[in-house]
Symmetry: C2
Subunit: 404 residues, 2 copies
């Protein structure tokens, strides 16, 4: 079994990189705090005797040798970046759980047949740069590296510039670090495991995700002189789109979220003339994803016509639902059973780097409970025992796959 106290210490120690007064973490990808946690992680890996490499998108790979170095390593890990107001478990648990596994194997003098490689994938969160799970998507060939390097944040800084600014544009070509498979430990970020009193989620499915960039162009005018029926109010338009989206996704049984909406040149006594917004749609069922996109597009067209405004609505990311590799999912389930943890099969609501990697290698995930299902919030929390249980399942899955 892994060292529960050492894992817990590492979680609390790294939470200071970008730590917020409310006990959360703000560590946007490729920012100053991300550099701090990356430097910490690199040193921790080197102290554990691992060789650390960085690829052209800043993803970090720390190799623990195996007896048969002709075999591609089993990959483990997750991501170190967070949401603007995120918690101290989302992502980093998977990286630190992998590090703790390596430390435990070292302590016990256990060598594996297949090497092991811990990964930290750049920009899993997708807050600063779209899409989420950016670097693993490029690794899996969904986007070209040049495309990703040119993506811009809200201040116009590109991924390439951000990588250079923190010194994490590496020399390993994206995709050349090979794996024979990948196992990612993560918090559930939803309420299911806690509600059912299960310690381990054996993730067999991941929801599909659609992301959109929208823009409403109405007409700025004076709040005191423009009659209600002559207005082209961009915010009134957005309001109808928000409520129509709630209606469409609820009817179809899926999810839809407008997370960002920015009025251009806002003023108290000016009717908003222009609003940029984003939308996130999810379902584990590809048919439902299609249906909500269709329903929301129809609603937007009708609202725009009624209000005599222009609305653009462009899909910027389409990640189909994921069905994880059967053998790897079974390996996670067997490890949970052997260790005596209560467990169940589960669908991931969130997207994960594992969802991208599953397209190019056998992949599976281990979930542990999230308190009250809260995530992407500074109050996100999991217990020390559950973190340790997750790391134990990760380790025993990897030992089964890598061979002792």
């Amino acid at each position: 079994k892994i060292n529960s106290a050492r894992l817990w210490d590492a979680i609390n120690e790294t939470a200071k990189f970008g730590g917020t007064p409310k006990g959360g973490v703000r560590r946007l990808t490729l920012g100053a705090e991300d550099k701090q946690v990356r430097d910490w992680f690199r040193k921790a890996c080197e102290d554990a005797g691992l060789e650390v490499k960085i690829d052209a998108l800043g993803s970090m790979f720390a190799l623990r040798k195996g007896r048969d170095m002709s075999k591609a390593p089993i990959g483990v890990g997750s991501h170190l970046d967070t949401q603007p107001t995120g918690g101290k478990f989302d992502g980093i648990l998977g990286v630190l759980g992998a590090l703790e596994m390596v430390r435990t194997l070292d302590d016990a003098g256990i060598e594996t047949e297949t090497p092991i490689c811990i990964a930290n994938w750049t920009n899993e969160e997708g807050s600063r740069f779209a899409p989420a799970m950016m670097a693993s998507a490029a690794y899996a060939g969904d986007f070209t590296v040049d495309d990703i390097l040119s993506r811009k944040d809200i201040d116009g800084v590109t991924v390439g510039e951000a990588l250079d600014s923190i010194g994490y544009r590496g020399d390993v070509a994206v995709g050349t670090q090979k794996f024979s498979g990948f196992v990612e430990l993560h918090i559930e970020q939803g309420p299911v495991l806690e509600a059912e009193g299960k310690t381990i989620g054996v993730v067999d499915t991941g929801q599909g995700v659609l992301w959109f960039d929208g823009k409403i162009t109405g007409f700025e005018s004076h709040a005191g002189t423009t009659p209600m029926h002559l207005r082209k109010d961009a915010l009134g338009t957005l309001a109808e789109i928000v409520l129509a989206t709630e209606r469409v996704v609820t009817e179809i049984g899926a999810l839809g979220t407008i997370g960002e909406a920015v009025i251009a040149s806002p003023s108290r006594n000016v009717i908003p003339g222009e609003i940029a917004f984003t939308m996130d749609m999810r379902s584990a069922d590809a048919g439902k994803l299609d249906a909500i996109e269709k329903g929301v597009r129809e609603a937007i067209t009708a609202i725009a016509a009624k209000r005599k405004v222009e609305v653009s609505f462009d899909k910027v990311w389409h990640k189909p639902p994921t069905h994880f590799n059967k053998d790897f999912v079974n390996a996670v389930e067997n490890a949970a059973t052997e260790l005596g943890y209560s467990h169940r099969r589960i669908t991931s609501g969130a997207g994960h780097d594992a969802c991208n990697l599953n397209n190019v290698m056998p992949t599976a995930m281990v979930f542990i409970p999230s308190k009250d299902g809260i995530s992407h919030n500074e109050l996100e929390s999991s217990t020390q025992d559950d973190c340790a249980a997750g790391a134990n399942v990760l380790m025993h899955t990897v030992l089964a796959l890598a061979g002792v």
Copy 2:
């Protein structure tokens, strides 16, 4: 008659202070561009032989002597600040029209019995600091000077600091520059005069205004893992408030606008947890103003309860409807008639410094048409002929009031 070409040149020359590529003006009160136009105005007044004084809130007063210096001057003027995406007529026409009047009187060697004083009132627009018509309100005793000096913009800069930063915190105590009355020339900013083919609006009424600061506190959570029925979505809440406001004000026959709405820490895959917003309500009928406030408050309470979120909604400004001084209104009407301009009585949809001044001295306003009723927009426009007509009515009104 005034010199139409000289007035038009002055309008176009000053439009370069904060001029935007789309032909509008961005000259937020007490910013760098406001300093530029203030410096220009001060020099133009001094060149015309006027004595310029600045009060403790940065309002500027330029005095033209009369035969009887024991009499308080007739005030004329308006404001030099603009909206973030404003036009080149709103406010400045009233100041430049007054300047053109003085230049014309000088050219014609006309002396008045009562002195004349051109005013530029600080922060009429209310975009950077609330409330609008800030300095004239303090002049009229609606707010204390200390209160106003401590108001903050979105970056936390106070009015006092902003005054110092552009060197316009003057030594005249607020309220000590006396006037025997005030006449303000302004564009209509609405569609009425143009629609009816009238050149001059004789303003007898001004709408009342209510301003509110609102804040919605829901709960940030993950867009992919939080079921629709468990969300506390601050943007969904705002959407319902926006549409309820449209419904309430339309039923009652008044105006309501949400001009600003900012999501705290926005991210594509996070359900908005907190939104700050503002609201502007208007009616010329005090009873309707009360009714829409009541209706919107009831709607907000119901929406907050249904969505299980908190909403605060605080009134930060209450300006009752204005009924301008009968004698001054008649003086404007007589001048328009004598000059042969088509005219009608009109209600001002916008607030004006004149509305505040009317509480402490006889006051009236002259309107000219706005193209397509557009204002608080870079496309705001009026013709050279209409600007000249307005300045002529202003001059002849003042001559009648000040005595030749």
